[in-house]
């Protein structure tokens, strides 16, 4: 579980995160939604340590970020898997090398074992037979799968995804969403996903946090998001006619 308490972060005097508190449970897909500029990416990057918060704490299963020494912090980073928005795969390496990279850096496994592990996770993300391809030879969806494989190859406790299905067609986007959800449940990972894709919200949002202007404006489940009368959430989530109709249908069905 990850617990965030009163997180503040700003740049050049401009406050981006204004005291966000939230709990993210293990084995669940936790979604952070909000408009562009609401602070989602800064929040996620603060959680994974790419930004240093000015105030507030982040607790990883009882380990508080500000109380950790450098060894503990290094250890924690090896428990984190991250899927970046643009995949962030090393384009000078093949698929296999990308996936094996964390193993090479942090384990002393023989090559054969590393390769077996890489093949296992590549099979898990349904990407068999692409081991020797370079990143430029892969489609967007395949790149996302490789990024997920690299993120889970070290058996992480925490998985962070920054808009994992941006730029993908709806069918591939749903496949990626479901893959993340399955992996989260299968390996009991605490998963946090940044998204503004409403399909993801409806599909895999077990816990949803809505950010507005650097503050938590709402939190709940995907069922609750249908019923909420929070104006900011309603305006954001149901901005399209399609989702308005989906909501109406859901409410008519449940009433």
């Amino acid at each position: 579980m990850i617990e965030v308490k009163s997180l503040h972060k700003g740049f050049n005097g401009n406050e981006i995160l204004k005291g966000i508190s939230a709990k993210f449970e293990t084995g669940k897909t936790n979604l952070i939604i909000g408009q562009s500029g609401s602070g989602k990416t800064v929040f996620l990057k603060s959680l994974i340590g790419l930004h240093t918060p000015e105030k507030g704490t982040i607790e990883f299963d009882g380990r508080v970020n500000i109380e950790m020494d450098s060894d503990e912090r290094r250890q924690l980073r090896q428990e984190i898997g991250m899927v970046f928005q643009g995949s962030a795969l090393f384009d000078s390496q093949t698929v296999e090398e990308n996936v094996m990279f964390p193993l090479k850096m942090f384990t002393k496994q023989p090559d054969k074992e590393m390769l077996e592990r890489a093949n296992f996770v590549l099979k898990r993300v349904d990407l068999v037979g692409s081991n020797k391809k370079y990143v430029a030879e892969l489609s967007g969806g395949m790149q996302k799968r490789v990024a997920i494989a690299r993120a889970i190859v070290m058996n992480p406790k925490y998985l962070f995804c920054d808009e994992p299905n941006s730029g993908l067609d709806p069918q591939t986007a749903i496949l990626i969403d479901n893959l993340i959800k399955e992996i989260t449940e299968e390996y009991q990972i605490t998963t946090i996903i940044n998204t503004h894709d409403m399909n993801s919200v409806m599909e895999i949002g077990e816990k949803i946090i809505f950010l507005k202007n650097g503050k938590k404006a709402w939190e709940g489940s995907k069922e609750e998001i249908f019923k909420t009368d929070n104006e900011a959430v309603v305006n954001f989530v149901y901005s399209s006619n399609l989702f308005k109709k989906v909501r109406e249908a859901y409410l008519n069905k449940t009433n």
Binding site: R77, F84, P102
Partner: protein
Amino acid sequence: MNYLQEIGKYFLMLKLVFRKPQRARVFKEALTREIEELGIKSIGIIAFISFFIGGVIALQTALNLNNPLIPKSLIGFAAKRSIILEFAPTFCSIILAGKVGSYITSSIGTMRVTEQIDALEVMGINSLNYLVLPKIIATVLFYPFLITLGMVLGIFGGWVAGTLTGLFSGTDYIEGLQTDFDPYLIQYSIIKTLVFAFIIATVPSFHGYYVKGGSLEVGKASTQSVVWTTVLIVITNYLLTQMLLT
């Protein structure tokens, strides 16, 4: 004030670069790759330019020494001194600053804007150490060989130019090469090369690593890095010449 901040940031970067590599095996692989990218792939351009510039130096010297009282062997002597002292270490380093410097900045800069460096950091890897240290070691190890090759081919180019044009004989040229030969000049040239190699690896890395924005900014950073690397090579050349030869 901004320049002072940048200089401070550069030295802080170096502090992070010079750490023990996290995995010796990964470091060796990276070093081999960098020797190939930054060194071996530069042999062609250095060989080509050295040969022809050596020829031009010898021809220019011959054309400007038309006094019959001056011995023809002076052409070989002057070409040798020019090539060993300045052309090979300084001119070749400026060429490498353009070729290798822009490559380093654009490759690291692209890694920055596509979040590959963030990915390394999230994994708990010292990205500066992982990306920059192999480049420094590769250039410092390989460039003395590259510059020595430049010296040899430059001098050879001078000999070829002379014998093909008939402006001076090969015998005179070789006599000039052997006249008053001081091995310290080679030492001086290698010392300069080592310093320039360090500049060529670190200044473009600095520009690439701290780039912000997108592909346009990476392009601008590449240009900036070549300019600054060249400026630093020229200034350092002056300082080293004063320190080592006066």
